[in-house]
């Protein structure tokens, strides 16, 4: 079977990495045949690439003339939906960097274009390849935790210094990135938060702090409270201003509690459903018995390479996608709801009003002094 011809558009830090991995043959069944980027980036690429690769500065030429079967889109966030839509129009499979886009209106359009094209569409949600989170999801979906009551993710170990933000003028601006920690660092956790539990968010009330720890205009500190369709509640706390920070995801359910922290999954398992105990127990201060289980989790975490390989396997042999491109909408929608709630100082119901969010974001961009 011939190799899938892959192009990479956007060859900054991440795009260059993917292109060189493909060029080195690290992805089975795929070969790098084209890249598209700015002049200096192309010159740098040429020095490092060993294979037969075409170089483009013009994106339309890249999509129409390069003959690629599939493309990895690693350009700035705002452009993802538009470029993906162009790729689909040219019959090209797509793997898009996270976030799927900046605002849900745009991402929904991309998802529609993907569906119409019938092409294989994936997104670089490379923490879905972490066996800890896969195991957690598997246990929850198998009903081990019973009905979920509460989720709590404190993800404050995305530390960034002022010098990081100062590296590029587009960083951490409404116009350049469309947001801060929610769009750049924490989309992984926003995605896993939703993907692992499978719960549908009904309502968000959030508190964002803009430029709290850095000289930036977007948020670097967020606390969001959510209510789910099943009545459960959740809290999500993210920051780039804390060191060493915390990464702790706790889920409480009718049959106990699961915690992922320090690269370990712990299950505090009840001998009996709490709801059942509550309904039948006759004493004063009793509670269901519980046992602590350190859940063994095997396997390494292939990360970015795992997502690319899975996407190629899906193209070649129909393997199910670990991160279907359409799923990118979830974290964008949650982020949009968090911003809206913070800007309007009120609760925001799901589904998020995509037009309203788009308008409000344009306002932020217009009012920006950056």
């Amino acid at each position: 079977m011939r190799n899938i011809k892959v192009g990479v558009i956007g060859i900054g830090h991440m795009g260059r990495t993917y292109a060189l991995q493909l060029d080195k043959g690290l992805i089975e069944g795929a070969v790098l045949t084209a890249v598209c980027g700015r002049n200096q980036q192309l010159a740098d690429m040429k020095e490092q690439v060993t294979g037969n690769v075409q170089y483009y500065q013009d994106e339309d030429a890249f999509f129409q003339e390069s003959g690629i079967d599939a493309v990895i889109i690693a350009t700035p966030h705002f452009s993802h939906p538009e470029l993906a839509t162009k790729a689909f129009a040219n019959g090209i499979h797509v793997l898009v960097e996270k976030p799927a886009g900046v605002y849900s209106k745009h991402v929904i359009e991309m998802n529609e274009a993907a569906e119409e094209s019938g092409k294989v569409f994936s997104i670089m949600l490379n923490q879905r390849t972490n066996p800890l989170y896969q195991k957690l999801r598997e246990l929850i979906h198998a009903g081990e935790l019973g009905e979920i009551k509460r989720t709590n993710w404190v993800i404050t170990d995305w530390y960034r210094s002022q010098s990081y933000y100062d590296l590029s003028s587009w960083r951490a601006t409404w116009k350049g990135e469309g947001g801060g920690v929610l769009l750049n660092q924490a989309p992984h956790q926003l995605d896993l938060w939703q993907w692992i539990t499978g719960l549908e968010i009904k309502r968000v009330h959030a508190f964002c702090h803009y430029g709290k720890y850095h000289d930036i205009e977007v948020e670097d500190d967020v606390t969001a409270y959510v209510e789910y369709g099943n009545g459960a509640t959740g809290v999500f706390i993210a920051s780039t201003g804390e060191a060493p920070g915390t990464n702790r995801f706790e889920i409480a359910g009718d049959r106990g509690k699961m915690v992922v922290e320090n690269n370990a999954l712990t299950f505090y398992k009840l001998a009996q459903s709490e709801r059942e105990f509550n309904a039948t127990y006759k004493g004063g201060f009793g509670m269901p018995e519980s046992n602590r289980i350190d859940v063994p989790v095997d396997g390494n975490n292939p990360g970015h390479l795992g997502i690319i390989q899975n996407w190629i396997h899906a193209i070649v042999q129909g393997t199910p996608l670990l991160a279907p491109g359409e799923d990118g909408l979830h974290s964008v929608e949650i982020a949009n709801a968090i911003y809206l709630s913070s800007w309007m100082n009120q609760s925001v119901d799901f589904p998020v009003n995509a037009d309203l969010y788009y308008e409000k974001l344009q306002e932020k961009i217009r009012q920006s002094s950056k």
Copy 2:
């Protein structure tokens, strides 16, 4: 020196325990000389008490005629301020059960009466005697954590079954207790949350769920977000509906992070102030170095007995109080703010409008079907 003559009013579960401890001579410098309670409770007491004790059913006679120097008030929550005020009017030192009262208006009046009386006034905040929390407070007050950025207390291990709530008809009603988990179980953590950091709360936004896991009219599930005067934020989550639940208190500051969980205090200490690092670092992805320290914590936790002994020592020899009675206002005020925010579906600023809260609580009591 003669023993301090102590009376106990309210001899249900806790009051009886205190009375018998005093009667057994477990408190140095104090002796039980009077109790006040309902008829059957008094009969039960008489069978167990060994010393020379007077028995009262009438509270005025108890305060005016028993000749006690000091009183422990262990009656239902609502009556604490009124009884304490009577005690002060009779020149009697007071140790009041937690919570100080149900609404801040009442507690403020009690605190004023205490101040006018000049008597020694303490409150049964018996988790302040836990050496873990004392050590945490000591380190924070010594500046080891630097300026605080965020607090997070998940205190969901206050599990209660329906049968617990069914034990008495006054339990978990607006009229009988004036609230649920915030007033009955979690006042300890509300107090420690404030006492340990010393931070002043500026604003609360809270989400209470009433009778979510039990057939009760008051809250059994709470998520509260706060903003402090120094700009820090905090989250407090309490529930009586989760098993096994969590008790984890995390505080992030400019010099690292401290966590109390599983009876251990862990300090993730930065080699350098984060604010200083942020201002001077020139690289891309760096962060300040940190080290994990398992803080050794010595000593046992004398709990209730420790608070009573400290109060007696304060009366006899002027020892500083570990839990000054006036401090009881903090957790009541925080609880009141959380209720108000939930009822009005908006943020509530500090200081809490005590009259407004009182009115709203009376409404709840009038509307109650219990």
